[in-house]
């Protein structure tokens, strides 16, 4: 059961199409598993439709409809399938979120004992700070806070960061008010997708160095 969701403003921005690409990717991957948030987005889309209907019409150039008709008659070439680039291995039974189909994902890099990470690059926004973290059972991320905002979608397993338990399907937004140390439960490893805006500030010097090395 999903207990943690994006807030209403984020779902609204998703419906409006105004989220930055990193956060939009995180929210999309949450929506794949969350009927409740899909309903909310649909409702905000209805708000968008109502605002659309209230627009003052802007003139279209002559002949635009004819161009539409011509294209419907000639038939559109099928959209190219996304090129799936090689992906690092996942635990058995876990699948890649559909939201990542355009992304390039690096191999799993070692960060600390029991802690690996992969860089997720969006071809349309290479600077977007999106990462995967893979944390072994019973291990933890170093304690840290965030310069701006960190969004996390749990893809597999579960962690507890002292505030709450986050399981597969859960979404978390942490900002500079949150200082936490996610600890993975003993039962199994945990894989999270994270979008980071601004730097993550780790407590220890070594962790800070590791964070800087991977661009957090």
């Amino acid at each position: 059961m999903i207990r943690h969701h994006p807030d209403e403003a984020m779902l609204m921005a998703q419906a409006a199409g105004t989220l930055a690409s990193g956060p939009a990717l995180l929210v999309s991957s949450h929506l794949e598993g969350c009927a409740r948030c899909r309903l909310a987005v649909r409702e905000f889309e209805e708000v968008g439709a109502t605002l659309l209907l209230a627009e003052r019409p802007a003139p279209l150039p002559a002949g635009l409809f004819e161009r539409v008709l011509a294209r419907t008659e000639s038939g559109e070439p099928p959209a190219p399938a996304p090129r799936i680039t090689p992906r690092p291995p996942l635990p058995a039974g876990m699948e890649w979120p559909r939201a990542l189909r355009h992304a390039r994902v690096s191999r799993w890099w070692w960060m600390a004992p029991g802690l690996r990470w992969a860089r997720v690059r969006l071809p349309y926004d290479p600077d977007a700070g999106v990462f995967l973290f893979r944390i072994a059972a019973g291990k933890c991320l170093p304690p840290h806070t965030h310069a701006a905002q960190e969004l996390t979608q749990v893809l597999y397993g579960a962690f507890d960061d002292g505030r709450a338990l986050f399981s597969a399907g859960d979404f978390d937004a942490a900002d500079d008010a949150v200082h936490h140390q996610p600890v993975v439960r003993a039962g199994g490893e945990c894989i999270c997708l994270a979008a980071v805006e601004g730097r993550v500030v780790f407590d220890g010097a070594l962790a800070r160095w590791a964070g800087a090395a991977i661009g957090l």
Binding site: T50, A58, A62, L64, V68, E73
Partner: protein, 225 residues
């Protein structure tokens, strides 16, 4: 109806494009489209037009939808920062996609206005992304909806009453809340843009936006026509 059979809808050979550039279709079609538009609830009329497109490949209904929505979609695109010519391109793409995907239209799930809004929104995002990287085209699948959410019949935004419900909910917000939603939801202003425009701290803007969005949803669920 399959996408292939859609490309040559039946009974529409007299609807060809004319060189004059204006929307053209026969008088008979025009009258039929008008009748659909004038059904008791105008919005149901728009959905009826879309159904005619979906079921019969009705080009007159398609032309009427274009005439109604094309200028509205363009206006919205320009308000959210799209240039005039890019907006025309997106309007064009939106209606090509609407035609090609018409068989997926289900008025029980969403009214045509909402469907068009999501198509235009996705195409706008797609275009913004392509400016960054030519290889990053949204594939077709990105425009398909995920499975419909389970919703209790009583509590859902039924397509039929959605318009009244949304209008009512928006009218119940404070003027400040409406303004904030308008800026963020509709004009694509970032939180920090809004903060500087309203001379408010960023945290305050975020909190108020969260509250306004949550209040709007509560109202959408409270409404009992």
């Amino acid at each position: 109806m399959t996408p292939t059979s859609r490309s040559a809808p039946p009974g529409t050979d007299d609807d060809g494009a004319d060189a004059g550039g204006s929307v053209s279709f026969t008088l008979l079609h025009r009258l039929r489209a008008r009748r659909l538009m004038d059904s008791p609830d105008r919005l149901d009329g728009l959905d009826a037009l879309m159904l005619a497109v979906a079921r019969d490949g009705d080009r007159a209904a398609f032309a009427a939808l274009f005439a109604h929505f094309g200028p509205l979609v363009k206006s919205w695109l320009m308000r959210s920062g799209t240039s005039d010519s890019a907006a025309d391109d997106i309007v064009q793409d939106t209606f090509v996609l609407l035609w090609n995907k018409a068989h997926q239209f289900d008025p029980a799930r969403a009214r045509v206005a909402a469907w068009l809004f999501t198509i235009a929104r996705n195409l706008r995002i797609d275009r913004l992304r392509r400016v960054g990287d030519a290889g990053a085209m949204l594939d077709d699948a990105a425009l398909d909806d995920l499975p419909a959410p389970d919703r209790p019949a009583d509590d859902a935004l039924g397509a039929r009453r959605a318009e009244q419900r949304v209008r009512w909910a928006l009218s119940q917000l404070t003027a400040d809340q409406r303004h904030l939603l308008q800026l963020n939801f509709y004009e694509d202003r970032s939180h920090s843009d809004i903060a500087s425009q309203l001379a408010l701290p960023l945290g305050t803007v975020k909190t108020r936006l969260r509250r306004a969005a949550a209040r709007l949803r509560e109202l959408l669920h409270d409404h009992r026509p």
